[in-house]
Subunit: 349 residues, 2 copies
Amino acid sequence: MELKNDLLIRTAMGEAVERPPVWLMRQAGRILPQYRALRGKLSGFKELVETPALAAEVTIQPVDELGVDAAIIFSDILVIPEAMGLPYELIEKKGPLFPKTIQTATDIEQLQSGAKAATELHYVYEAIKITKQELNGRVPLIGFAGAPWTIFAYMIEGSGSKTFSKAKRFLYQHPDLAHQLLQKITDSTIAYLHKKVDSGVNLLQIFDSWAGILTPELYRTFALPYTQQIANAIKRVPLTVFAKGAWFALADIASIECNVIGLDWQTSPQYARQFVDKVFQGNLDPCQLYGQADEVKQATLSMLESFGGQHIANLGHGVYPDTPLDNVKVFVDTVKSVVYQPDHQAIKS
Amino acid sequence: MELKNDLLIRTAMGEAVERPPVWLMRQAGRILPQYRALRGKLSGFKELVETPALAAEVTIQPVDELGVDAAIIFSDILVIPEAMGLPYELIEKKGPLFPKTIQTATDIEQLQSGAKAATELHYVYEAIKITKQELNGRVPLIGFAGAPWTIFAYMIEGSGSKTFSKAKRFLYQHPDLAHQLLQKITDSTIAYLHKKVDSGVNLLQIFDSWAGILTPELYRTFALPYTQQIANAIKRVPLTVFAKGAWFALADIASIECNVIGLDWQTSPQYARQFVDKVFQGNLDPCQLYGQADEVKQATLSMLESFGGQHIANLGHGVYPDTPLDNVKVFVDTVKSVVYQPDHQAIKS
C-alpha cells in the first residue's frame, strides 16, 4: 500500500524535504483522553498490548487527534524477555517488575531465543496488520524494540533502577555470561524485527534507554556490538537508534549502519554533528510542554532552527503522561507550520 | 590544629603534590562493618545524623579502616530543607520522602531561611567539632551541602524521581517563584556552610546530584547562578563542585569560582579539560569495584593515568552499599601506591 504521507521515510532516507516530519515518543498513551477512556475499561496495560484490535486502536488515536506524521505500534520493549521465557508485570505508578530474574548460566540456557522466541509475539504482528489496514496509508507505521543492553538490564535487575548496579555488576563479574545473554536477546530481537517488517512496519526504532549509565568502555563492549548486529541484519526499512544519555559514546554510535540517531534534550545537534553524519531525531525537553502555549511555540521553533535540515522533530524522551494536550498540539502544529528554504537549512515559519 | 596529612588541601589549591589524594563519596556508610553494627542498634538514619557523637564516630570509621586522605562529615543534604521548615523522612530501601512539599507562593513565604535556618542545624556543627577533636589533625575534614537546584528538586517533587518532572514543571510554569525559592535555599546554604567552616571543616563540596536532568538553558538559568553565589560567598576554604551528569554545562561550570570540579564516570578528563582549568575529582565507575581485585587495580591505575596530575582520586558517584570492602581497599591502596614524576603528569606505580 502506498503511503499518502511519506515525509518521515523520505527524511529518514536523507532526502531533501519540504518540512521536518513530527511525531512524539509515547504519543499513544495517557496524554490522550481517548486512550484514558479505553484504558479505564481494561484490566491492565498488558491486556491492551496483547489484544491486537485494541493495540491498533490506540496506535491510531494520535494520528487522528494530533495529526502527527507517523504512528508507532502500541507495545512494550519488555515483550522480548517475556517471549524468551521471563514474564513481566507492569505495576501501576511503579513500572515494570520481573518476578524472576536472570542470575546464573542455567537461567540463560533455559531461555528460548531467535525465531522461536519471536513466534510467541503473534499478537504484535497481528496488531501491526490491523493498524496498517486501518491507517490505509495515511502515515507510516513505526515498529520498535529495546536495545539488547537495555533489555539485559531489566532481565538482571528485575525492575527499573536509578543505578542499574545489579545489571552493571553482572557485566563486571560475569562478562562471558553477559555476552551469552546479550547474544540471545539480539537473536530474538532480529527475528522479532524481521517479523514486524513482514507485517508491515515502515521504519524501525531501537530504544537504548539505559545506555547512559554505562561507561564509554562498557558501552563499546556490551552495547554497541549488539545494536550493530541488529542494524547489519535489518536493511529492509530505515532504522533509528536512540541511545538515551549516551553522549559520551556518540562517536561509536555514529559507526552503526542506521539512518537516524535520536538525541535527548541535553545533547545539542551542534555537539552531535561533530561525530554523526546522519539524520537526527529529537529533542525538545518533554517538560517544556508544561509551559505557556507561546513558550512552547517559541521553544519548538528554536529547536527546529538549531537542527536545520536532516531532522525528524520529536521530544528528547517520551511525552510525560500529565502533559497538557493543547501544548502537545502546539508542538505538532508549530513543526507542521514551517517550510524549509531551498538550501535545506534555514527555516521560514 | 595543624593537619598531619594535608595532601587533599594542597591538591585542591593547585599545588604540585607527590601523589593524588584519595577518598570516596559515601565512604562513611554501609560498606563498613563498623557502620552496619552501629546502625543496627539505632532507630534510623536520622538518629545517626542528629546525634553528634555518633555522627563523628561514623565519620572517622573510614579513616581508620580504609586509610583515606580525608574524612567527610556524616550528614545529609536534606537537612537544609528541614531547617527551612520542610521535614524529611528516609524510607529504608526507597530513599527520601517529604510528607509536605512546596506548591505555592505561600509555601515559599512560610519557609525560614538564611542564618535563622542555619541555626537549626546545631547538631551538624557539634558533630564537626567532635570529629575535628577526635581526628586530631590526621586528615582534613570535608563539609558539604546540596546545590540549590538539587535541594529545590526534592522540595517540589517530595521524593527521588527518574525524571523530576514536577520540579522541572515548576521551573517552566512558575519561574519567578522558582527563583524566590532558590534564593531562600541559597541564603540558607551560605549561612550553613559558613557555620561549618567556623566549626572546623577544611574543604567544602557542593553536590548537584540532579543537574543532569536539566537542559543547558535551564542549568544556566536556575542552577548556575545559585551555585555561583555560594562560591562567591565562601572563600575561606577550598571548594569542590560536583554537578553529576552535567557534561553539557561544563563550560558554564568552569566559570564558577571554585577550586575543584567533580566528574562522573561518563565524563573523561580529556573531554572536561576542553572547558575546565581546575583540579578534577573522580571518576571511577562505582560498579568497577564489583570486579576482581586485579581488575580494580588495573582500572584504578588507568584512571589515574587518564587524569595525570591536578587530580583528587574518587569514584564518579557515591560508593554503592553492597561493594566488597576488600575492593574498596584495593582502590585506596592503589592510589596511595603511585608517585607522580617530577613533570607532575606521568605516574609511576
